[in-house]
Subunit: 413 residues, 2 copies
């Protein structure tokens, strides 16, 4: 069971979490491990202190190890508090910090990757019936320094612990009651999905449906750990709180052709016009962007005035777009192009579903639905289980609603 | 160098501490280790959270291990912050948590005793020129659980680290600029003491001069670590900030007969009247009190109406007095006494000085001075380097001032 920052925001909420864990421990045949985040706001407070001490001008890798020492204290406090709240309810429980299990990570402070859970006495304690309350988000290096896994890293901690314990399931409690076919704020008829495959969830997560951290889904897929996403803001024993199960495709009986519609407004379209077209030009452009750590998403290349020149269009996040322009402008003479145009008023809308692999006509349905609403498609990209289009951002809601209906995802009631 | 909670209360003060440490590191020929407390107020905040989670009705030993996990996070944060502030000033520095050094303690959570500093790489790091910023107040058990040393335990951490490193000196920075001949709030003519012996400091500390934790002085005496008490609320390089050196008696050239006057108002006098006098009666009474964890201080036994009955008078803290009365009342039939009287309006005033060992007339001076002010002495107790009297608490200030003058401790200016 994993509980995020809003689920443990104060003592009232921690007591409610203790009730949920107690209910699970009472009804479970196996042992229970609980992974907790820092109390909401605590990580920001600690980061603020650390920035103040380091001086904002000097923040950088040379400081990250001590950042981790400071910030990891947030989860430490929550794990102790929840252990106390469980003992108060008559359960055996104890906190486990990253260095105690130990959760061994690499040395990349601030965004470390888990390498191993050595589990010195940790699985044995759970097997003995003691509830393990694990401080999420943190680990330690082989040589005994504290590391953190990056924002949202507690999801990853939870899946790693579930994998190490061969757990039947990893329940991620959050402030929503599951994964929806699309954003319910845009489409009130959006439905909660009962089961979704890891691959679909990865596409949903990477496209802005911020329920689970992408890394945690990858890890779960690699280790075959089923994740259940459900709400901590319900009463104990609420049978309606079954959430969404993220699992292997094979365990989903009734596969939808399309499972969900995702969108992202944090997109910028950059067009390089009149690029002198010669072999290796794409490699040249995108290796420069990669060297600047810019994540390029959709890419389209098309002839321009003739076969000698091309237009190269790609998308990246809005934040990265200014850096991308300056990198390319600096190399204008070497690359050779006429001009560069940036458009931030774009949005990416995607339909996702493992059923696409075996069904035809999915793309046609998408293009028809958008055309019927008069929405112009600027860029198209596809993968095995996803079709994404770039459109004018002012049409985002209209497009999402049209697609949600077109694929029969609206609730019937 | 050790800095308490008020010295690291916020980022401004932490930056000032970093300046003081930087100054020391620049001028010192050897290495520097810094021990820090939690930021002022932080420990109370964490204890409040822990009490809330545990439920006040259930606080007890069964919860102390998780209390330690929660509360130790306060020093963890400060150690990271000071390490960052030192790096910002161009120094190599890193935090060391109790479990990292490791500082091994026994299993008594909440008031653990240090057993060993294994110092895996810790002395080597300091020898290499890196400033070690040690989280005070915390250690770990052999089996890897976090412990804390009890309130004020950072002083003890500091002395233990100094002893383990064979440090030339342990500088304890606090909010006063040294140890005074008596409380300056009562006697404005009180003087800062340049040098004081461990034994005298122990008597001062245990009698309510709350500059240093008693255990830290004992530890320093046992390991021959000189402690310097000085203020962190001064500018760097302030030559006046020499503080008070607590050291071996042999290193004090000009010994005062009396070094200081201490007092304590947290006293209660309990009189058992008409105790049936037979061998073993004192052992019976005081073993009952010891079993209830009541610390008895002064004891006087005197015949009452005749040799068959005695009056037994003793003192303890006000807090313990009610428990003492109930323990003794419960055992009244077995002990055999007429009645029990409690007086909380008493204070203990003590004169302290290693010079008493070789000087006579110290007690006479004390009794004369008190008699001259019309102050009645209720109980007297003496040790090699201390004479204490119990008096009516409303005479406390008058007595302290009279004694301070009588032993020539007033400043001459």
């Amino acid at each position: 069971m994993k509980f995020g920052g809003t689920s443990v925001a104060d003592l009232d909420r921690i007591n409610h979490v203790a009730d949920l864990v107690a209910e699970q421990a009472r009804t479970s045949t196996g042992g229970v491990a609980v992974i907790v985040s820092a109390m909401a706001g605590e990580t920001n407070r600690l980061v603020g202190l650390a920035n103040g001490a380091a001086g904002s001008a000097l923040v950088g890798e040379a400081f990250d190890d001590e950042y981790d020492v400071i910030v990891a204290s947030g989860e430490q406090v929550t794990s102790g508090l929840l252990a106390l709240a469980l003992r108060r309810r008559g359960f055996r429980a104890r906190s486990w910090l990253g260095w105690q299990m130990p959760m061994i990570t690499n040395h990349v402070h601030g965004k470390a990757r888990i390498e191993d859970i050595e589990g010195n006495g940790f699985p044995e304690a759970i097997a003995s019936g003691e509830i393990a309350v694990v401080a999420g988000f943190q680990g330690r290096t082989e040589d005994g320094r504290i590391t953190t896994l990056g924002r949202g890293g507690s999801d990853t901690s939870a899946v790693a612990v579930a994998a190490a314990l061969n757990a039947a399931r990893c329940d991620i409690y959050t402030d929503v009651d599951g994964v929806y076919t699309t954003d319910p704020r845009i489409v009130p008829k959006a439905r909660r999905i009962d089961r979704i495959s890891y691959e679909e969830m990865l596409e949903m997560a990477s496209l802005g449906a911020k329920v689970l951290q992408t890394r945690s889904v990858e890890l779960a897929m690699n280790h075959g750990v089923p994740i259940r996403v459900l709400s901590s803001f319900v009463d104990t024993g609420d049978q309606q709180n079954s959430g969404t199960l993220v699992c292997d495709e094979d365990e989903i009986m009734e596969k939808q052709v399309v499972s969900g519609i995702a969108y992202s407004r944090d997109e910028a379209k950059i067009s390089l016009l009149g690029v002198s077209n010669h072999p290796g030009i794409a490699a040249d452009i995108f290796s420069r962007l990669a060297a600047a750590n810019i994540n390029v998403d959709m890419i389209v290349q098309a002839d321009s005035r003739g076969p000698e020149t091309a237009n190269m269009v790609f998308t990246c996040t809005e934040r990265d777009s200014e850096l991308a322009v300056s990198v390319l402008t600096d190399a204008r003479d070497e690359i050779g192009f006429d001009r560069i145009v940036v458009d931030k008023d774009v949005a990416k809308v995607s339909v996702i579903g493992v059923g696409m692999r075996s069904h035809t006509g999915v793309a046609k349905t998408m293009f028809d639905a958008l055309f019927a609403k008069g929405i112009n498609i600027q860029v198209i990209s596809t993968s095995e289980i996803k079709i994404s289009v770039l459109i004018d951002s002012s049409y985002t809601e209209l497009a999402v609603r049209a697609l949600h209906s077109a694929y029969g995802l609206d609730t019937v009631s």
